[in-house]
């Protein structure tokens, strides 16, 4: 069982959240080639290591979270709300 410490709701089971994948920087839509855009859409680092990723607390506060998780042990060490506490 994976427990995520939501900054709003406290420790909650991961099945309240949806996993949205590793964090990547989005190219500027107005200034990018289709091939570069598709690389952003499809390619993944898929590391077996500490990874920064985004989750959505769909059955809770409905806030987006950034968290650092180790993809081999599933240990989570850092959780933050996207956009900070006030957003």
């Amino acid at each position: 069982m994976l427990v995520i410490l939501c900054p709003n709701c406290g420790p909650r089971n991961s099945d309240e959240f949806t996993f949205q994948g590793e964090t990547r920087s989005r190219p500027d839509v107005n200034d990018t080639e289709p091939s570069e855009w598709r690389r952003y859409l499809y390619m993944r680092e898929n590391l077996a290591d500490w990874v920064s990723e985004r989750w959505f607390h769909v059955s809770g506060c409905r806030r987006y979270l950034m968290l650092e998780r180790h993809t081999v042990t599933n240990e989570i060490r850092d959780v933050e709300l996207v956009g900070g506490e006030q957003a």
């Binding site: 996993f19 994948g21 091939s35 598709r38 390619m43 081999v72």
Partner: protein, 402 residues
């Protein structure tokens, strides 16, 4: 029966300093590639490198289901070739792989899934594959233990019926290919982990392993679970996310379930092995991970779903559960072909359907290596389709439907 020890069926070799072809991954894909390289193309100076023991990854963790009733014409054609190779595999390898074509039944619990099944059946028929939509009465006749009454939460409205589908002994497939490839001269190196891929002027020059360096101009990545990490050693990016898939098996009981039963809506599939155990599989876990630890959510969810289908088995006990790693691609199609690095090929991204494609993938990869370019059967499965935006659309038949 003799009491003397059985002879080894494949040899132990020292690592040679060079091979014509190095295959990374000693599962069904890698071993089948070595076998077809030797048998179809006479290429025998081949090494298969396996970091653990052969068949220790996806090849030994899948639920051993074989079928070809996919949604796209290219998918159906490809998996149909695999079924045909599986049908004569025991003969080819002189090894009993226990292929039982008991039929494969995908249940429809809603009008929309019934509609997709009609679509799949028509695509399959055009490709000459035995596949049709059957009524709840026919479902009841083929699998009397399913709850076909009109009151369950997920009523059975019909099913996609695929008689050539079935189950196979997955370990025997691995061992059979290994023995046959070994007999024709391929070297199978177990406990030999690849630690790096050496490039020279944009081409593959060799691989570094836990047992030393090997020079080779042709390297094939046939791994599952670690495909992205192995490709990254050659500087190749892949559109893959690795997810665990959990499965479980019950205590053995007398035979009562003949066909393979699949329910996409309930995210589960079940078959009864020759030994009498029920083998259950599910969809992939809801987040990416390289962990193969089981979870309680899986077991409770599985029990709920299976009892929706077969209320009568509520007293059966699970013996064990396990997980395998699935390399998911954005379009639920595999990635077979060359990469931007000359001499470095991939046969990866097999998601949850890699085992059933083992023979055809091995045959196609061997053909690609011998001829220097991908053949017609795998032409649409190249890595370049992601940059070009020409994805396949196999999700409708590959996501859960085993």
């Amino acid at each position: 029966m003799s009491r003397s020890p059985w002879p080894r069926v494949w040899d132990h070799h020292e690592l040679a300093s060079s091979y014509d072809v190095v295959i990374i991954g000693g599962g069904v894909h890698g071993l089948a590639t070595a076998y077809y390289l030797a048998r179809n193309h006479g290429i025998t100076n081949v090494a298969v490198l396996e970091k653990s023991y052969i068949g220790s990854g996806g090849s030994g963790r899948n639920t051993a289901i074989v079928r070809s009733n996919y949604l796209t014409p290219e998918g159906s054609r490809f998996y149909d070739r695999s079924v045909k190779l599986y049908e004569r595999l025991a003969d080819d390898l002189n090894f009993n792989v226990m292929f039982e074509q008991r039929g494969h039944m995908t249940l429809a619990h809603s009008d929309s899934s019934l509609r997709t099944m009609r679509w799949r059946a028509e695509v399959n028929k055009v490709e000459g594959i035995d596949s049709s939509v059957i009524s709840p009465d026919a479902v009841r006749e083929l699998a009397p233990f399913l709850d076909t009454s009109d009151h369950p939460r997920y009523p059975i409205l019909g099913a996609l019926w695929h008689p050539p589908g079935g189950i196979i002994r997955h370990d025997a497939v691995v061992w059979g290919y290994a023995r046959a490839a070994n007999a024709m001269g391929a070297h199978i190196h177990q406990e030999t982990e690849v630690t790096g891929i050496e490039l020279a002027e944009g081409k593959v020059a060799g691989v570094h392993t836990s047992r030393g360096r090997i020079a080779s101009g042709t390297v094939v990545n046939c791994t599952a679970g670690w495909a992205s990490l192995v490709a990254a050693m050659a500087g190749v990016e892949l559109p893959i996310t690795t997810r665990p898939l959990q499965a479980a098996v019950t205590e053995p009981v007398r035979p009562f379930l003949h066909p393979v039963i699949v329910s996409g809506s309930l995210h589960t599939y079940v078959s009864q092995t020759a030994r009498g155990e029920l083998v259950f599989g599910a969809s992939v876990d809801p987040f990416a991970s390289y962990s193969t630890r089981g979870s309680l959510e899986f077991t409770t969810g599985l029990a709920n779903h299976v009892l929706e289908l077969m209320p009568a088995i509520s007293n059966m006990r699970l013996l064990r559960q396990w997980a395998g790693l699935c390399d998911m691609t954005p379009d639920f199609g595999p990635i077979i072909g060359p990469t931007p690095v000359e001499g470095f090929f991939v046969d990866v991204g097999w998601g949850t359907y890699g085992f059933k494609a083992g023979p055809v993938a091995g045959e196609a990869v061997a053909d690609m290596i011998a001829n220097g370019r991908p053949g017609e059967l795998i032409g649409t499965f190249g890595l370049d389709r992601f940059e070009a935006g020409t994805l396949t659309a196999e999700k409708g038949a590959a996501a859960v439907g085993h």
